[in-house]
Amino acid sequence: MHWRRLGINALMLLSMVPLYLILHSASWKQREEVRRSAPPGYTMPAAFSRVLAFGYQGLLSDYEFLRAITFYGDRSVKQVRMSAEDWDFFAYSLDVVTDLDPYFLDPYVLGEGLLTWDAQRFDTANALLRKGMEYRYWDWQLPYYVGFNHFYFLKDYATGSEYLMQAAQIPGSPAFLKTLAARLAYYGGKSQTALIFLQQMLAQSNSETLNQRMQKRLLALERAVQIEEALQQYRSDFGADPAALKDLVQSGYLQKLPPDPYGGEWGILRNGRVYSTSKFVDPKPDSRE
């Protein structure tokens, strides 16, 4: 009897434990697969979540924000391109987060960083930032971001200047804002505008992932500015643009064309701005545009 019970226990140990271990790893692997291909998920509208937070709206906003940033980080690490649906989810999440706690700064900063450059949704980003301006009236950064978007992306210099002036009038705003509007109006849609802006944004951020992305974009912009300056020199010497950017190297204005960190090809736009075929966005495995 005693031996029989021992035998049963040993048999259970030898069969069940390995079986559990195998199923455990299979299940986790499957979950990883499910999460990779999962659609973006669902964010509850703020009208409901504000009630269902039962007084913990602030905490819920932190959680929803983490969810949005993790979702983006997940796609980014796995090199999966954000689809239009993914961006819908992302933008909506930021909207809900700022409905839950409209004073929360992070979603506005993240929205400015990603909805413009990566998603090309300038109006969504501006609408989000304007919501923030209503609440964070003491914060110069939000009008500053909206102003930048008008300058660089929307090429609306008049509106851009208005927002920058508004930012400059807020107590505690940095002194450079007062002259920035004038400088940006001079550079307009050129790379220098974005360079000034990104340097400022980088100096204030604490997020490693976002910083790495911004560093890369900063490097690309610095190189674009370098080429633009050589181009300017060439233009004032010869009175016309070179036929191709290679001519700048041949005539000695540049040592060599610096490579675009995003792997694109440099070119000249008709307004004299240097652009890259990569648009300073990481190349995508699939060609969905």
């Binding site: 504000r50 602030g58 932190d62 951020s205």
Partner: protein
């Protein structure tokens, strides 16, 4: 009379401290505070807001657990275990019993909150020292006001527990009624204002009756949002003294009415 009420309050509070679940609640709060230190780094700029959110949530949730699980037990035990006969055979009026029990619960809540506040202050100061440049709008005075109003909110909740204990016979029913009252009270403001804004926008026309019903509910149930200063504390927004006074007065008024009703009912009650 004051002496008797005070003695009962102290005994009730001591009995609550002896409850083992108190350690569980304190451990839970400490865990959240520790989690806060770990999680703060995930955010970009507003670390001060996240820290304050988590700290105040830990404090208020620990308080809720305390009132719902230990508080209700303290009230109901006397009736469940028939020890109330022993207490009422002493020279106590029934009104004194209600007030004593209530003050004991409040004392327990205040002691626990004070202890947790020490830990929470340490956490906030620690995270503040770790990331000083991301604590822009933070203000200690607003933070302490928010904690004080968590105390007011819990005191109100204690009164609700005492009231339902006085009129029901089982601690489980008291628990269900108190939790339900809390959930309604904490969300009524949001729902009412949402309906008002919807009505103003002309979107939902059929909800007139619903709104009328909710208006009546809002008179009966305390509006817990009035004591919620978490957003203000998270961003260091200015607090007007009038607002603090009004909220505190509103809470005190509600507590007094509830305790008065509880004594009225408790006096007529028969125990068997």
């Amino acid at each position: 009379m004051l002496k008797r009420v005070g003695a009962l309050a102290v005994v009730t509070c001591k009995e609550g401290i002896r409850d083992r679940s108190l350690f569980g609640i304190l451990l839970f709060a400490l865990f959240v505070l520790g989690l806060n230190v770990a999680v703060a780094g995930f955010f970009m700029r507003d670390l001060g807001k996240v820290t304050v959110d988590m700290n105040l949530a830990a404090l208020s949730f620990a308080g809720l657990l305390l009132v719902f699980f230990i508080g209700i037990n303290l009230m109901a035990k006397d009736i469940d275990k028939k020890t109330i006969h022993l207490v009422l055979s002493k020279p106590f009026s029934r009104g004194e019993y209600i007030y004593g029990k209530y003050l004991g619960l409040v004392l327990l809540v205040v002691c626990t909150l004070a202890l947790l506040l020490v830990f929470s202050t340490t956490t906030v100061a620690g995270v503040n020292a770790m990331y000083p440049e991301y604590f822009g709008g933070f203000s200690w005075s607003v933070y302490f006001w928010a904690v004080a109003f968590i105390g007011v909110q819990l005191a109100l909740l204690c009164a609700i527990v005492v009231f339902f204990s006085a009129i029901t016979t089982s601690s489980f029913i008291t628990l269900v009624f108190s939790v339900a009252t809390y959930l309604v009270g904490v969300s009524i403001e949001e729902v009412l204002f949402y309906l008002k804004s919807q009505a103003a926008a002309g979107e939902v026309a059929a909800s007139e009756t619903l709104r009328a019903v909710l208006e009546i509910v809002a008179w009966l149930v305390p509006n817990f949002s009035a004591f919620d200063l978490k957003t203000e504390a998270a961003h260091g927004l200015a607090l007007e003294p009038v607002r603090l006074l009004t909220s505190a007065g509103y809470g005190l008024g509600y507590v007094l009415i509830l305790l008065w009703l509880a004594t009225l009912i408790f006096r007529r009650r028969e125990f068997n």
